[in-house]
């Protein structure tokens, strides 16, 4: 019997297994995943799970957040708690941390990304990141009412943690190196509105600032007590959350001739460039989306594991069964959402690529943000994305279709 091996048991790994079955792969599927848990949903980790789970044990969190799995993957073999440390794509095998070697006919790269850390030494206690369930379980008890929390990084995860911690009664400061929060995802205008909205809830926003040093609590060298910024500001801190971006998990693929600069470079069929028997899915995959341009990018949005898995499984099964592939190019319509206090931010397309933003509905006033706002994002005059803040879902389809029509792919 032939075998497809999936490396990474996150959302993309699960969706890949399901979509391999949906694409007609009836032979063996083996998923190797580093985390001890079955695939679970990450977005709640910075939102309702962080504030709502209390001191439940990690398994309770894992059970509540686990993805429902399609019946078609009941016979898939899962080896959890298993890290893959190497691969020999020529010999078609991967090597696990315990030395076990596993051969494959087809390989799915679904190893995702991990949180980057501040490259600053200093005390380790009181410093957190947020990517995994284990991270959230560790962070949750530190977010006590009154705790002084410094979030480093004002991107989506940083702002969501800041919002959730504020709702939990913490006193929160966000330190963002750019001139405003959420700039990369939402642009200056809408990012600025959300930032002002969050400030209105008492979150202190220090933009254009970087962290220079982390100092310990006096007498407790292993515990962070304050954060020192590049302008010498000292922020007393009980908790430091490092939300400073991510690094793709690709080290295990080294020395195979793949292009691993920022994830795994894929061709238009989501195959790792140069390999017909290897595909990449989810946050780790870097691919061109012909809807927007010809630049290959990674996209860290929740819809991407599902979209990439559906397409890549089709590519892999066709290659392994020697079938022709005449499908149109992969061209997903990406979407993203973020919940921050009473804001529900929803985007379609690629607002991050725009050079011009216009508010087409609602008023660009942070106090009016909860009443609803629609912004259109243009690049070279062409609509490439929309952002909806607190707009009821009955308008989502119409707005998405505007982007679809101007970026047909």
């Amino acid at each position: 019997m032939s075998r497809v091996v999936v490396v990474g048991a996150g959302m993309a790994g699960l969706r890949a297994a399901e979509q391999l079955r949906a694409s007609g792969w009836s032979d063996e599927i083996l998923v190797l995943g580093q985390e001890p848990h079955a695939p679970y949903n990450r977005p709640p980790l910075s939102k309702e799970a962080l504030s709502g789970m209390g001191a439940e044990d990690p398994q309770t969190w894992a059970d509540k957040l686990a993805f429902r799995q399609r019946p078609s993957v009941a016979d898939v073999e899962w080896r959890l708690g298993t890290e893959v440390v190497g691969a020999d794509l020529g010999a078609r095998r991967v090597t696990c941390a315990d030395g076990t070697e596993v051969g494959y006919d087809g390989l799915v790269i679904a190893s995702g990304i991990r949180s980057r850390r501040l490259s600053i030494d200093g005390p380790a206690g009181g410093r957190f990141t947020l990517r995994t369930l284990a991270d959230a379980v560790a962070l949750q008890p530190a977010l006590r009412p009154g705790a002084r929390v410094v979030v480093v990084g004002g991107g989506f995860i940083g702002c969501e943690v800041a919002a959730t911690a504020t709702a939990m009664g913490c006193r929160v400061t966000v330190v963002e190196p750019l001139s405003g929060c959420l700039q990369r995802g939402l642009g200056d205008l809408v990012g600025g509105l959300v930032q002002s909205y969050l400030s209105g809830y008492g979150i202190r926003m220090l933009t254009g600032r970087t962290v220079r040093d982390l100092h310990p609590v006096p007498g407790r060298p292993d515990r962070v007590g304050s954060v020192v910024l590049d302008d010498d500001t000292v922020l007393p801190a009980d908790v430091v959350v490092e939300a400073v971006g991510s690094t793709p998990n690709v080290e295990w693929l080294a020395d195979n001739g793949l292009d691993l600069t920022d994830g795994v470079l894929c061709d238009e069929r989501l195959r790792a460039v140069g390999r017909s028997d290897v595909v990449a899915v989810g946050d780790v995959a870097r691919f061109v989306n012909p809807r927007f341009d010809e630049v290959a990018r990674r996209v860290e949005h929740w819809c991407i594991p599902t979209d990439t898995a559906r397409f890549a499984a089709g590519s892999l099964v066709r290659a392994l069964h020697d079938l022709p592939d005449d499908r149109p190019r992969f061209a997903p319509m990406s979407s993203f959402w973020s919940d921050q206090l009473e804001l529900r931010i929803q985007s379609f397309g690629a607002p991050g690529l725009a050079d011009e933003v216009t508010v087409v509905d609602g008023s660009p006033d942070p106090c009016a943000l909860t009443d609803g706002l629609i912004a259109h994002y243009r690049r070279g005059g062409r609509l490439v994305g929309v952002v909806l803040v607190n707009v009821p879902a009955n308008r989502h389809r119409e707005q998405r279709e505007l982007v679809s029509a101007s970026c047909p792919g």
Partner: protein, 62 residues
């Protein structure tokens, strides 16, 4: 085939309507309406909707 949406989970994201507009619809009040016994030809679209629901609130039964 039967479609069940866990109303306690559903948070009106509207992703299901985008994937399967013949089965799921967000009404003028912004709330979800859906067909519990859809035509079998909708199966792929419904499975896509179940995958796309951020709350994983959609259950498809045989």
């Amino acid at each position: 085939m039967r479609v069940i949406v866990d109303r306690a989970l559903c948070d009106d994201h509207g992703q299901c309507e985008i994937a399967a507009p013949n089965v799921f619809r967000i009404g003028v009040d912004g709330k979800l309406e859906y067909d519990e016994r859809p035509d079998p030809s909708e199966r792929d679209a419904i499975e896509e909707a179940a995958d796309a629901c951020p709350l994983q609130a959609i259950l498809v039964q045989e």
